[in-house]
């Protein structure tokens, strides 16, 4: 029996394995950020982490609060602006990998992170596009993570291009050959994309999860790989790194709000 872990730790550890050493990786916030940092602390020490806020070559000693948080690192190697990142770095092909979180996703890996509902009948605003559309459009590949998001037949809003209508449609629309989402890691399993049709299929299950549980979440007839991998549990080392680096990611956002709220109430009663 290994150390017990949280679902966030499992996702982060699995996502981190997708990053290779010496790659340029753009990271967003949350789980994605933690995965990039974990990879750099374990098997990819020479990877270069950058954020769209113009921080290149950061060496985070904690998970940054957001993409423009320079307090996560003791300096960095290149300070530029957001236009520089999207043009001179991304558009020139230097970015190997982008990590992205998912709100809604369809069978070809197209994503919605803007809002739920219809125009004129909004229900919930998600974060908005941010840098996701261009990063998934132009990075070498995209590693997607989803916790709290949903699989849908049709996106409420089409924010970020996956494989469009499948097949070669993404590349016909002008995005770099070979680019696109390579893997999606959810709270239940691991999904990949068929080489020819570009349709998403189930490639692996997290420990204790069944195919039926996954099928219940996916509104289309999901294809299943002949051999399903079982997601390896995070190692002792990974768990130790994550808990020291990113206790907030380890516990997840819901628990984090609860815990920090308690701290705020303590502070309030201290001052009064």
């Amino acid at each position: 029996m290994g150390t017990k872990f949280t679902i966030q730790e499992l996702i982060v550890s699995r996502a981190a394995k997708e990053l290779k050493d010496r790659e340029f990786v753009v990271i967003g916030q949350g789980i994605a950020m933690a995965a990039g940092v974990l990879a750099r602390r374990t098997h990819a020490p020479n990877s270069v982490i950058l954020t769209e806020a113009g921080l290149l070559g950061i060496d985070p000693f904690k998970v940054p609060l957001h993409i423009a948080d320079p307090t996560c690192t003791r300096g960095f190697t290149y300070s530029c602006d957001m236009i520089d990142i999207f043009t001179t770095v991304l558009n020139q092909g230097y970015v190997d990998v982008t990590f992205l979180g998912v709100g809604q996703i369809d069978r070809f890996g197209n994503m919605n992170s803007s809002y739920l509902g219809e125009p004129g009948n909004y229900t919930t605003r998600m974060t908005g596009a941010g840098g996701a559309p261009e990063f998934i459009g132009y990075a070498g590949r995209a590693i997607l993570t989803m916790s709290g998001g949903t699989f849908v037949e049709k996106l409420d809003y089409f924010t970020s291009p996956g494989y469009l209508e499948g097949g070669d449609s993404r590349y016909a629309a002008g995005m770099p050959e070979g680019s696109g989402p390579s893997v999606l890691i959810t709270t239940r399993g691991v999904f990949k994309f068929d080489e020819t049709s570009k349709e998403m299929y189930l490639a692996g299950l997290h420990p204790g999860v069944t195919v039926d549980e996954i099928r219940a979440e996916v509104p289309w007839d999901l294809k299943i790989a002949d051999r399903l991998e079982t997601t390896p549990a995070p190692t002792e080392e990974e768990i130790a790194i994550l808990r020291s680096f990113a206790p907030d990611i380890t516990m997840g956002r819901k628990l984090q709000l609860e815990v920090v709220m308690k701290q705020v109430i303590n502070l309030l009663s201290k001052g009064a």
Partner: protein
Amino acid sequence: MEKYMDADKRMTAAEAIGRFVNDGESFVFANCLYCMPLALTHELIRQGKKNLMAFQQGGIEEIDQLILSKVIDRLVLAYNFRAGGPRIVSPLDRAIKEGQVAVEEMTNHTLLSMMKAGAMGYPFLPVLPGIKVTDVVRRNGFMGNQRFARLPDPFTGKDTLVVKGFNPDFALIHVQRADRAGNGQLWGAMINSKWAALAAKKVILSCEEIVDTEVIMSSPHLTIVPSHKVCAVVECPWGAHPSEVLGHYDYDFPFRVLFVGSAANPDAAKFWLDEWIHKVKDRQEYIRHYVKRFGRDTLEAFRAKPFKSVPADYGSTFSRDWDDQGYSRSMGMTMQEFVAMLDAKGALIDGN
């Protein structure tokens, strides 16, 4: 563009917002996420500004604060944190549903490219065309077709995507230091600051400290907004709290959670705005109130430890062609010999 040439533009945040902001104008946050101009933003709220149109790359709490206070009615937005997750109905959610605010969805790259084009005085600028297949381009909001257009590349004929240049009426920016004229120096995350500030017709600047122009002269590479763009300079320590400013302070996460927790409920939100904006006169009083409420130690825990940039040396010999003995380095003669030479060559004109 108007040129702001006063040598001393120091004033209070109240004066700056009072003098330079009119209802109905458009403005851009020239810092987002990092080093946010929150003292200035709170002044917009305190003065009850109305019907403003905001450009924001990445919002944390300021958008909800402006919405709750009914300051903005149009919002051009690339990203806005959902601190409470999808379970919480945010003020922005409520305002969109009730029609209090219209939102135009952009991406970070394309929104900032609109500012960069505006800053350069260009009518439009090419952007990465991949998003032409997405709803960001296909669905228009209140700006209608005044965002994107597709044009053939004049050299190759290939289909390209361009964005329109914009010049907001004003920008709000917070920086580490500036001189009295407003040469503003920022370091850390540069994000949108340069292009947003330069796109605006004028910049309202607050800073952690005012420094002598000599300091600026020795480190011009740090100047992100030049004084001729700046109409007001507000010295304002802790002016970005609860966001972070390198060399000064880290972000204050518990304080942010206090707002997020309050924002979900209209009564609690009103209580928060009263306590932290309306019942304090300015940022100084806000900090005094913070210290009273949470203790000096709580605030001081966020204070940055130094990690100094190795200074760039802007030195030279600081000498003209004439050396200490009065000889020209390039001609090997004295001033007297030089004038005699000019005369001998017939180069001197007798004006009498």
